[in-house]
Amino acid sequence: MSDTVKLSAQIAAVLVACIVVAVMPLYADLFQLMQFTLFASMAVLALSLGFIWGFGGILCFGQTAFFGLGAYAYAVAAINYGDSTPAILCAVIVPALFALALGYFVFYGRISDVYLGVITLTVTLILFNVFNSTAGDEYTIGTARLGGFNGMPAVPTFNMPFDPTAILYPEDSWYVTGGALIAIYVGLRLLLRSRFGRVAIAVRENETRAALLGYDPRVVKLWVFVLGGAIAGMGGALYVNWGAFVGPTIFALSLSAEIIIWICIGGLGTLIGPIVGCFLIQYLVSQIGSQQSFNSNLVLGAILIVFVLLLPQGLVPTLRNLVAAGWYRVSERRRETGHGQSRQMTAGQPVGAE
């Protein structure tokens, strides 16, 4: 598929997503809308890992560490300020700084990729234990009690910027969450078209070659990692806004594993894939859960196995390749009948993709 075709497809996807977000409250009841708001906040988390893993080559087993830190940072700040505006900012900055510190240690310490997975996993476990043991009154930040394993209930949800009296209705929350998801997607797309984004992809492709051309892979990976942490933190804030609650289970390893499954099913190396995978699987799991005749984990496992065996690339890349192959065949036929030109290799076309 040529670059222009790809770009048009991406723009079309964004337009469709905008329309879906806009009209959803007309078609969904309140319960469904709340559920989609939850899915969208999770999709922000999935997108953050899809970005650092698919485009930075960084497999982080503990992306929920940043999600959870963002959620707690939001909760603590929202309780203290009584206004969600600075709290959202905190939810982005705190995990970003944490990612900066952790990433510096990992990338500058020349720790191998496998250990990166182990370290991020361990950090998530540590955070779980830390927040789990903050039950006493001494664990209070300002007026916010961390609450240990009980978590923090009744966290103020989003209000209009700088106007704590104007609390958002669930419809508004849906617009904000869906809108944030689209905005982050568009932002990442633009980033990947910029110089930095292209260099980041180059580092993922071949770190040695990137270094031999004068790019410092450590710096590039660090910024990708920090950005991923910031986005996951934003997801955390959106999540707390949905439930007005945060507890230590937000650091649960099962969630970290689930995001990886969403990405594998949706398609690694794309930005749409993680979002599609997240919505699809969560919807499926919620449907199964309401029927109570199957164990949702069992179904999830089965789906993953089917995908690994039959569609190892995931949904989005598989669909994209099918469309590209069809497109190629059509344009070939047109060329042969229309102009009788000799065959040329088109941009990015897999050899022998017919």
Binding site: S2, R195, R198, V199, I201, A202, E205, N206, T208, R209, A210, A211, L212, L213, G214, Y215, D216, P217, Q344, M345, T346, A347, G348, Q349, P350, V351
Partner: protein
């Protein structure tokens, strides 16, 4: 009496892998604008030498100076920024990206958007891959990928270019084209070329350095080196002319 310092100078450069002495006290010197060929049998330590020059390996002992600036043990990207470019023995390209993107990544680091585009077009012309500019590099032949890598090295416009077996896997025509390009580059830049193909060496060489068992065995002009009986001895068993 002031002497111009050499472009590149190594002193007692040594690389140990456990018990293996891959490089053993190499004292090497290269002048500005010089073209040097490096030959030697398999395992002589040529690629290891290049890896130390480009920061892929940290020497066990010894020093490397580039324009009188110590670079031994420095990270690869810093050395690349000082102006040393390398085509490695095993092709090191961005396999998942297009030919044009590969070249652009090399060109854009130190120039403006427009200048980079111009460099990319020139390089694509030079390496004769203009028609395949949009092709994904991983799907090209070995020879074409070699060209892409040479293209990235050219596009980065380094002061010193290291080529590790550039003619391997190339057709006779392509080999001749490579020799031509090397002569062109050498009008403005210095090069070190590692090759086994003696015909190719004869096409390009002035001075030849012979590596053997991690040491410099001989350094002389090309006729003298090819006539030397010791060189024949170490190469015995290996086809001298390709």
């Amino acid at each position: 009496m002031t002497k111009i310092p050499p472009l590149l100078e190594t002193r007692n450069l040594t690389m140990r892998f456990g018990g293996v002495l891959a490089n053993d006290g190499v004292n090497f010197s290269l002048g500005e604008m010089e073209l040097r060929c490096l030959i030697g049998p398999n395992g002589a330590g040529k690629s290891t030498f290049f890896k130390m020059l480009t920061g892929q390996l940290t020497p066990s002992e010894g020093t490397i100076r580039f324009r009188d600036h110590p670079i031994d043990g420095h990270p690869s990207h810093e050395i690349a920024r000082l102006g040393i470019g390398i085509k490695t023995q095993i092709p090191n390209v961005f396999n998942g990206l297009s030919v044009r993107e590969n070249i652009w990544l090399a060109a854009q680091r130190k120039t403006t958007r427009n200048a980079a585009r111009q460099i990319v077009d020139e390089v694509l012309e030079r390496i004769m891959l203009k028609d395949l500019a949009g092709a994904i590099v991983g799907q090209l032949s070995h020879g074409q990928r070699q060209w892409v890598e040479i293209g990235t090295v050219l596009a980065a416009e380094p002061e010193l270019i290291l080529l590790d077996e550039p003619a391997a896997g190339m057709t006779d025509e392509e080999t001749e084209r490579t020799a031509e390009i090397i002569h062109e580059i050498n009008k403005t830049r210095a090069l070190i070329v590692v090759e086994h193909d003696m015909e190719f060496i004869k096409m390009i060489a002035k001075t030849v350095t012979v590596f053997h068992q991690g040491r410099i065995m001989l350094e002389d002009n090309v006729e003298a080196v090819l006539a030397d009986s010791r060189v024949r001895d170490v190469y015995l068993g290996k086809k001298v002319a390709a």
